[in-house]
Amino acid sequence: MAVAIAAARVWRQSRILGQQEQQFSSLDDKPQFPGASAEFIDKLEFIQPNVISGIPIYRVMDRQGQIINPSEDPHLPKEKVLKFYKSMTLLNTMDRILYESQRQGRISFYMTNYGEEGTHVGSAAALDNTDLVFGQYREAGVLMYRDYPLELFMAQCYGNVSDLGKGRQMPVHYGCKERHFVTISSPLATQIPQAVGAAYAAKRANANRVVICYFGEGAASEGDAHAGFNFAATLECPIIFFCRNNGYAISTPTSEQYRGDGIAARGPGYGILSIRVDGNDVFAVYNATKEARRRAVAENQPFLIEAMTYSPSPVLPPDPQSREPTLTWGHFPLCRIGHHSTSDDSSAYRSVDEVNYWDKQDHPISRLRHYLLSQGWWDEEQEKAWRKQSRKKVMEAFEQAERKPKPNPNLLFSDVYQEMPSQLRKQQESLARHLQTYGEHYPLEHFDK
């Protein structure tokens, strides 16, 4: 009996509720979900990701260095364009010499920037000198453009007594406080959320500064990249995310790195304004970065630039045997020309033909040279003289760097904290005592006393 009464009470309550529910069953109501602003649809349809005709690639010059659309010509003055050219070629010369020096065992490791000089210089030129740079490891051209001396590049690679990094890191881990270039670290993509934090602080300080953050298309797979993009958008940070897509992460081609339309297509997913540019076109890189900078600072929002550079897809020239998808942009195969680093021999995963093909076909330096020649701002004489001069500068710096001693081994112990903890000081003293007895077994003669 009690059960029946309870049941009746439940039934009566449900009728009351049912009447109240009728208020919600109108046909033309709008969705009010807090999680998305969208209309209803009554047809089941999955959105198709578009990778066949993906986000188009912005360019200003054709392969012969001719301006395609005059309204996109940045009309840069001669001095500036010559600085572009000299920065890129000096970097290239330094790369060749330091690469060789590693092969000869003079430095332990090196990473070249072959084919990506345009991305570094075009973007660096579009920034203010005080804009903060967070790089990954293949952005030496940014420092070169900011007039970082050859002596200091070499000092870091040799870990000698002039290295501002005090000999602590492997070669190419440059940093320069004066030039607002944050010291490189090896873990990939860790710089991305850091750059966002720095941009937030710049916004709060009303510094009128943008932060630029470079990374490769492989590093963009890391969780830190996702974190950085999302934070930049939600916290409205004045930051430029600059992705260098050279088609390879060591041996891993982009077909194994992602299935979407590259990195640029991810931007809109985060609410970020995005563009894809031809990384071999220094003016395209310049224009995109310049506009992104202007708006990032004015509007306090992030921008994503994906710069496509050289990276031979595994099917170039097309391999009829291969069943892999031909991921080319038009017939514009893109690739990293050099090996990933001196620890890498890319002939293991790319054919020599591919590399030569691209080296001869298209290169940011040769494209810019064509432009300079057509403007009458450069000629063969100047080219020859500059090649000689730049090589000489690099060789001099190189020889000097080789001759200098390494820093004092006491520098092994400092800067762990701002102040040296007492326990660490004891360890430092114990090494000193050890060297007194066993010093002959250590390369002390190469180190500063």
Partner: protein, 392 residues
Amino acid sequence: MAAVGSAASWLFRLRAAGAEGHWRRLCGAGLARGFLHPAATGKDAAQRRQVAHFTFQPDPEPREYGQTQKMNLFQSITSALDNSLAKDPTAVIFGEDVAFGGVFRCTVGLRDKYGKDRVFNTPLCEQGIVGFGIGIAVTGATAIAEIQFADYIFPAFDQIVNEAAKYRYRSGDLFNCGSLTIRSPWGCVGHGALYHSQSPEAFFAHCPGIKVVIPRSPFQAKGLLLSCIEDKNPCIFFEPKILYRAAVEQVPVEPYNIPLSQAEVIQEGRDVTLVAWGTQVHVIREVASMAKEKLGVSCEIIDLRTIIPWDVDTVCKSVIKTGRLLISHEAPLTGGFASEISSTIQEECFLNLEAPISRVCGYDTPFPHIFEPFYIPDKWKCYDALRKMINY
């Protein structure tokens, strides 16, 4: 019977659909108790939740820092954060849910007082929170990041260990993130189980370049947190969550600093040195009383306070005097920070030791839920270990 059964299941569905208002009304009608809590009445109610395994012992009111106010632990944290944001215009606080005041109320009122650009929520992403915080600190601004539970700090491990800790060293002191402080609730709470009870200090102890600090009380917390925030090195500040409400004492309203890397001898003694940090300090205080009462043993109690860099000298000095050392922490025994202390002390004080160094710690298991009372290194286990040491 069937009608009742189906009505009951209908009630479950209604609740699941989130019809809050309806649910409350039904509860009020007394239905909920009948259908959904069948065992609520009668003698089965014996499965009550345990009382705490410690009694918080407030320290005497501090006199040297001006006016004090009664505060619990979360209020003392809020006070420290308030002082920081008032003094340092670059300081910002961020993390999950900090804007409304935080899941433990540590940031209540701060957003209203200092603005939404200074106290703000981030997306749910610990690696992002710490990375973002590092970036702020690199520009020289003060970054105070919150990780909602220490159990969730691991996605940020790479940013902490590979980046924050090494920033100054690897750049040759060109760059640093010294103005970064990470705060996080820590330690057992009675019912937290695997993912709301962890004490991960040992993972970070192995990482030169950061400081790890754990307070035992509101007064200690405010002074130590202020020191962390002002310290020129990245710091992790673990807050014993079980003390957020349970620990109440007089805390100065104005800012003050308690030095880092200095252990505190909170009670002098002759026979045994007891070392702990955080909540466990209160456990060993009680053990010291038990030892005095039952064994006539005089204990010297040390609150380590900073895990790294730790105050080796204070612990050595004490062990040289007493000859016996017992270290206790909730974190699992193997690789726990007691191993580091034990190893160093036996190196430095070998000939002074009257007994092997004793470690009373959590077992080498994940932190269990229902078995918590058996898992934790409670006063009985510490007392028993102490007794064995005395009789060695």
